[in-house]
Amino acid sequence: MSIQDILQTILNSLPMIARYSLVTMGIVLIFRTTATTNFAQGLIATVGTFFITWAALEWTALPLWVCLLLGMLVAFLLGMFVDIALIRNARHITPSGKQMITMGVMMILVNITPVVFNNLVIYNTQGRSFSQGILQFSFLEMNFNITEMGLLSFVIATILLVATFTALKFTKWGLGVRATAANETVAQMLGVNTRVITAFSWALAGALATVGGFFTGAGAPLSVTLMGNAQVFGFLACVLGGFGSFPAPILGAVIIPLIYNFAGNPNLMGPNAGMWQNLITFVAVLLLILIFPNGLLGKKYIKKV
């Protein structure tokens, strides 16, 4: 493996890093505010993506980025609905009970989405995607390439994540989220409207993940399993990085795509690499989790009796 190959593989990982970190950010926002892992995260994003595709292909002639914003809005509302209708009323239930509720939501969405969108066998935004081009450039006398779409997804994801982190750090909502995450009851007593904070976190999680879904679906046939891998890897990224803080899961979402792309590199892993790529990544990530059960950046959680 040459240096050029290593750098190119890292470059190839960027779009995946972008998509996964958006999904992961949503999962961790929800986990910190409601203490549950949202199994419906990927499906909410899928609904948003289906909406974008339907809007762009069958409904309007509006520019694609407007459709993207509309899709984000749909997922925003859907996420908020799940929180207000279900999770808010399940506060007395154990975390694993809440987890099962989100699994129920997932089951409903998986089955209902194709029906709502009228079994569209959609080939996503054919001819209407932002760009199909491939960008070539050379650096230190080595040639690299990246798809324009991939680069765009990375730029957009970076902007969105930086904006989210800034909001967490400097806005009143961010302060509220951090207070709720630290201790919901105390936050409530100090006048934080945890209901609004939580609902907005769920909504934002849906909207962010939809951007990930949009770029996952770009140029490929759509199906309800679109975000299956992103969902599972997003979770694993959270566990790998450590659920304890906001940035740590993003670290996980950076590491996993790197493992994935190196595992799929034929120069490194042989000609059949693509076939075993998923398997190798799962095994590697699970091993890492076993070595660091509290996450790479996590602290040991001590339960008071």
Binding site: S96, Q99, M100, G104, M107, I108, F235
Partner: protein, 352 residues
């Protein structure tokens, strides 16, 4: 004299009916009765598709009983069930196809042993991972199994699926015809299901089951009472994987076909739903839960055009039921039955 004898006999009958196994045996008798009716009416009713539906309900119920140990007793939510069922199924398919000389019992034991070995690994993982993260990690594990089933062509025949041509034992060893072998295997399946119900019930009532329950309610308190978390979590996983492996062997032996698409996260979620709907620890409830989740469609709804054309309706309903049970009715069907009983008793008292 005669009267006294009668009342003694009826008293014995009453106490026999009150025995916890009575319900299990009743289910078994009903299931065998269905098959016998089919034989007597020469297949007019129930149709073989209906019987196959009940057979798969039994297979899923077996898997569900194993899951009971995890969810109902130890309080651990795992999403790795599908992988272990698939493992049992594929080992059976591979062994029956490529090693024709090996007896079925050996295949069964081999499948169980492999499942147990892997279950032990998962059990150890569970000790290092806390509560709700376990579902995530086992979900990852189940993906590993899926990738193996899909890509290890020599072992699983990949996405095309693996199949066996003959029913084991009855068709291969005893030389029965295909139809007879199917009926015989159905009855074997009933016997295994009822036997496992009894075994599971006894295990649940034993000190093992009680220790697991203590662990579910508070792992710290259980530890303080001298219950080894290592031992009982591991045991819960081993039991559940053994049942899942057995379920897989039965799946392959009876349905004789399996493809990687059978073993996605949806399968694990369905098992979870079945156990949850039944009331987590009640075995008859788990059977009914498996019936609701896996049985209603092939047994009844297949004949109704609306449901045949809109298979999503039933799945959405199951999703809704999961949410409703978790939020409002954590006892599931068991709680429902108890509540109905209690309200009857109340009405009774008011009348008298």
């Amino acid at each position: 004299m005669q009267n006294a004898h009668d009342s003694q006999a009826s008293g014995r009958l009453k106490s026999a009916l009150r025995h916890p196994f009575a319900g299990f045996v009743l289910i078994g008798v009903l299931l065998i009765g269905l098959q016998l009716t089919a034989i007597l009416t020469d297949g007019a009713w129930p149709k073989s598709s209906m019987l196959n539906g009940f057979a798969s309900v039994m297979i899923y119920a077996i898997v569900g009983y194993g899951f009971t140990f995890l969810l109902g007793y130890a309080g651990l939510a795992s999403l790795g069930t599908a992988g272990f069922v698939g493992l049992g199924a594929y080992i059976t398919a591979y062994a029956l196809k490529n090693m024709p000389g090996v007896p079925y019992v050996v295949v069964l034991l081999a499948a169980l042993l492999v499942s147990l070995a892997l279950g032990a690994i998962v059990g150890f993982i569970s000790l290092r991972i806390e509560g709700i993260f376990l579902a995530i990690v086992t979900l990852g594990l189940s993906e590993i199994f899926y990738q193996l089933f899909n890509n290890w062509l020599d072992f699983t025949n990949g996405p095309n699926g693996a199949s066996i041509s003959k029913y084991p034992i009855f068709q291969t060893l005893l030389g029965m015809s295909r139809q007879d072998a199917q009926k015989a295997f159905y009855i074997l399946l009933v016997i295994i299901t009822v036997g496992l119900m009894m075994l599971t019930y006894n295990l649940g009532k034993s000190s093992t089951g009680r220790a697991m329950l203590a662990m579910k309610n508070s792992s710290s308190a259980a530890q303080a009472m001298g219950i080894s978390l290592l031992k009982y979590r591991l045991l819960a996983f081993l039991l559940s994987t053994a049942y899942a492996g057995l379920g897989g062997v039965m799946f392959m032996s009876y349905l004789r076909f399996s493809a990687p698409q059978n073993y996605t996260i949806m399968f694990s979620l369905n098992i979870l739903a079945a156990v949850l709907i039944g009331g987590s620890r009640n075995l008859i409830g788990t059977f009914l839960g498996s019936f609701i989740v896996f049985g209603i469609t092939p047994i009844f709804l297949q004949d109704i055009p609306f449901f045949r054309e809109n298979p999503w309706v039933i799945n959405v309903t199951i999703g809704l039921i999961i949410i409703l049970v978790v939020m409002f009715y954590p006892g599931g069907l068991t709680q429902l039955v108890n509540n109905v009983k209690a309200s009857f008793k109340k009405a009774d008292r008011r009348l008298s």
